[in-house]
């Protein structure tokens, strides 16, 4: 019997490199949106700690434990990546599978911040956006999430359907940065 074949959002588009920057597709594993029920924020934080060893992320922050990460992802929700949520979390929060909704790329290298400065109005200076910071903002015209994973490495997420536009916009910005030398 035939079977369904999985395809990643950026299949055939990445990797690309230029201007001291390299862009690769990231498979973050399962991704689940977690939105606490009313008044359950505290018990959810406890349940998260017990189930996955991470707490509820403060606004603009993320927490990691091995391959598992929890990202602050909006005014009342977080995104758990790298692991399927333990069912106990459903007692405290709405869980929604987002594992196929996002294109996730890693942008890294010395010129990364210069490239991103051409795409997002976000303040990416060390003081405002240290390693571990996670923000929702726009990348060119797209709703996006940006996560700083290391000194010169950022993850950029846009909706899956816009993967091609993200790669295009990154490419244009990288060419401009590369040309300045």
């Amino acid at each position: 019997m035939a079977e369904l074949v999985a395809r990643t959002p950026c299949a055939g588009l990445l990797p690309i490199a230029g201007g001291g920057v390299r862009v690769t597709e990231v498979d973050p594993g399962p991704m689940t949106a977690i939105a606490p029920f009313r008044g359950k924020e505290k018990t959810l934080a406890g349940a998260l700690k017990r189930a996955h060893g991470v707490g509820w992320p403060a606004p603009g922050q993320s927490e990691a434990s091995g391959d598992l990460r929890i990202l602050w992802f909006g005014h009342s929700h977080a995104l758990l990546t790298g692991v399927a949520p333990k069912p106990t979390l459903a007692n405290h929060a709405a869980l929604t599978d987002q594992g196929d909704a996002w294109a996730v790329v890693q942008v890294e290298g010395a010129g990364t911040r210069d490239v991103l400065a051409r795409l997002t109005p976000l303040d990416l200076r060390d003081g405002a956006f240290p390693v571990g910071a996670c923000a929702r903002s726009e990348v060119q015209h797209m709703q996006a999430a940006i996560l700083r994973v290391a000194g010169d490495a950022y993850r950029v997420m846009v909706f899956r359907s816009m993967a091609r536009t993200l790669v295009h916009d990154l490419q244009v910005a990288m060419r401009g940065v590369a040309a300045r030398g």
Partner: protein
């Protein structure tokens, strides 16, 4: 122009959508009558000076904000989550 989102911090205006005066928070009762509904939907003051209006941080955290600003100087003096304003009023 920048707006101090209570959740995300100071952000460029391009991340926000404007809706209008914060009066939109005060939805009348279903049976409040035509005048109340007309006022709620259509009638707005046009102040020269401080005002409060609703902005949606759609390109950011998704929160609706009540932004206090001055229509003369364009100064933005504060922003509060609409759900907190609403919660406080209730």
């Amino acid at each position: 122009m920048r707006i101090p989102c209570p959740i995300c911090g100071s952000r460029d205006i391009r991340e926000f959508d404007y809706m209008g005066h914060a009066q939109a928070l005060d939805r009348p009762d279903p049976g409040a009558g035509a005048q109340a509904w007309d006022d709620y939907l259509h009638n707005r003051d046009n102040p020269a000076g401080p005002t409060r209006d609703l902005w949606f941080h759609g390109m950011g955290c998704g929160a609706w904000l009540v932004v206090e600003r001055d229509t003369v100087s364009h100064e933005v003096t504060g922003a509060t989550l609409a759900r907190d304003v609403k919660g406080g009023a209730a």
